[in-house]
Amino acid sequence: VLIQRKYEVRSAPADLPGAPPLAAPDDPAGIPSHSEWVPDAITAAGGLLCAAAGLTVIVAWFARATAILRFGSENPMSFNTAVAFVVTGVALVALARRRPRAALAAGVFDVVLGTAILAEYALDRSFGIDQLFVKAYLSAPHVVPGRPAINTSVCLVLIGAALLVWGPWRSRRRPAVVAAAGSAIGAIAVIATFGYATGNPATYGWWHVSAMAFLTAVIMLILAISLLSAAWRDSRAGHQNLPRWLPMPAGALALGLAEWLAITGRAVAGGRISEATFTGAATVLGLAMAALVSLVVWMAQHAEGRRRVAVAEAARRSAAERVAREGEQRLFQFLDAMPIAVSVTSPGGRPYYANSEAERMLGRGVAPGIGAGEPAETYSAFRVGTDRPYPAERMPIVRAALGQPSHTDDMEIHQPDGAVIPLEIWGRPVYGTGGEIDYAIAAFADMTERHAREEVIAGQAALLELAGDAILTRDPGGHITYWNAGAEHIYGYTRAEAVGQKCHDMLHTQFPEPRAGIEAITAERGRWDGELTHRCADGQSIIVESRWAAQRGPGGSLLGFMEINRDITARKDAEREAFRRVDEIQALNATLEQRVQQRTVHLERANKHLATFTYSAAHDLRTPLRGISGFAEALADEYGDRLGEIGRGYTERIQAATGHMATVLDDLLHLSRVSRAEMHLEEVDLSAEVTAICDQLRGHDPGRRVQVSVEDGIRVTADRPLIRTVLENLLDNAWKFTAGRDDTIIEFAATPVTDAPICCYVRDNGAGFDPAYSSQLFTPFHRLHAATEFAGTGMGLAIVQRIIDRHGGRTWAEGAIDHGAIVYFTLDANDTQ
């Protein structure tokens, strides 16, 4: 059983995984296969024969057919035995037809009957069952009437037991139990049968109390065959090999054979040996033979089992290997299809596998024997950009073999054709089930394209480096990810110092508005412009013109921000300086205006003072002058006789001089007055005034023929008395200096000038003046003509100039000797004093 179990265990893996489980071997309801049909038929046939024989005997008992009852021997089959045969036969047919409950019922009947009979024998009393149905009218010597023989009863118990195991005891031992029962019955029946054949009553009539009928022995033999057949079918339902209970029927058969030999031998022995001795020796010999046969059969069976196990194991192994090979093949196909290179080595560094991409990249396949030398030589691996072999201890495949996962990107492969391939390599160990390193695997990628891309990017980055502005990028968390040379220069932080730092913490940025708002604007609109204040590494604050741009990934996710910052501190300082200067100038202007106003006030006050002084002086000078004039006159009047002619002449000169001086003083007073007079501006029609003055002049000098030309409608805003004084003085001069001409022409008109709203002039065709002295014309008391030629103090034009001054205008004169004079004046009513 142990071997059998082992065998089953061993052979189980041979089944393909996932195959449906075997049908339960003991399932009576299962549809019979071809292999089950024959034993079923044998069992059913045996059952039918058995039942038919039993039924025949029962009928014979009732019919008193003694010929049938005593068929083959003097001992008739008992009625109870016949009933048991009928029951058992029906049960066997039912069993063959998959009706195990009938077998159960029959088993109970058989066991109870057999046990009861044995109990009767053992207790030597009758339970009243022996002749229950029919009187045992036939009786053999030593036989209890109607009671079945002991061996028959044992067989009944065995049959009952065999049938009972078909019930609830559904174990794989059932066939063995059934076979054992069958074998035992067979042995008993064979012995009985051979006993009848050889005339040895001991074999069928045990202890001489009752004997098994010949017919009973035959039926028992049939029953044994039926039971073995059922056991055979029960065993074969599970598996293909021979049933393990085979030694038992073989032993029974051997026992029967030994019995036959013993019987034969007794005939030969003739009486030389006592019957008891012979019987004992034959029994021992028979049992030994049965045991030997059983052993041989068992051993043969065991050998067969081992052979089968070996064959199955070999088949299983080959199948497993095939599966593994197929799996590996498939894996290699997968790897070959991958765009990344993969190579696998044994822990010792021997190349085991390289996919096609790896072969292409390395420029060779996995040649046998490769890997004996240095790994760097094996793969022509060099440090990137050099001719130095790549150090073996740093190679990922070597480190992976030592159990260290690693990654490098500084290796390049020099292919046999001279091509250089830069590689990025990942190395990983592959562990077996026991935790040991089975393989080292390396995956590597050709970085040529990536390097080319990186070169392009680096070229673009180099352009960023050329920018004078600070260009930096930072992730959404504010950490600097890029920092160009301009930023290093402006802020004083090197790239190594800056990258990874929180940008605006490091720069102590002062934002014009909250930073979150700026970032929101940048994220929304893509950019933001403004001015920020930063603190440099040296602690100095700078102002930058900052432009922010949002960096977005392919899906539109925010990668971070780029800032371009231009240092405008100098410009800002200059602006501030300019503003400061403007402020200063404005302040200066304001104070200047104030000072001008103050000066003007002072000047006006000084003018007033001067005018007042002039007035006072002129006024005070008049008093002594009056004294001089008066007393000179008194002298001449009262003492004229004594003075004589000359003395009187002197007093006359005194009189004349004081008279002149009085005129001068009056002019001075006049000048003073026009300087001090309050001005009241109003609209004045100059043309009308001129006409009126000329009429007055004509009235004073009616003898002169003077042609006066006055431009009509010259209106100005001025102080009427003062402007009238101007016109009087000018016309008076014109009148005066044209005296003595027959064709005097005096003209008053306006002429346009650039620096004043109005410019008027008075022209005459009189004596004129030397233009070399035109600038002296307006000087007080300055005369260009001799007092004897033209009267006057030389104060007229000075007064004119003073009045025009006060009206914000200016005066000038043009002229030539004997070609008349033109005196111009402008007026600017907005700038009067």
């Binding site: 008049r622 009056r626 008066g630 007393f631 006159e633 008194a634 009047d637 008279g659």
Partner: protein
Amino acid sequence: MNDRSILLVEDNPDDEALTLRALRVNNIGNAVTVARDGAEALEYLFAAEDPAPSPALILLDLKLPKINGLDVLRRIRADQRTRLVPVVILTTSVEYEDVLAGYRAGVNAYVRKPVEFADFAGAVSTIASFWLQVNEPPADVIAPSPASGAPAG
């Protein structure tokens, strides 16, 4: 010509002499009282113990020591006894403000002293003959005699 006196208020001795001479050469024989400053003039007019009879004409200079001419004028016009006495300001100033102030204070005439003596004498003669002979004084003043001669100059 009435015989009442003329009060000449004049601080300058030269002008005083010239004025007196001008009166004399023009044959104006009224007695002339000279006050050399404003205080003296008021003392003369309103002396408590012995007030002089009101003058027929007061010739008043403006620029005077102690009390100036305008104040003197105001006192004269303020006093019942002298408020109707003809006062002629005879001064060198023709300042507009002075002229205005003089008339406001109730002066009867404002005459600027000419420098040349002939003119001066003419002016004094005209004033005296007008106020003492041509002009008819108020009722409480003694009626002047009819003009005895044309004013000088």
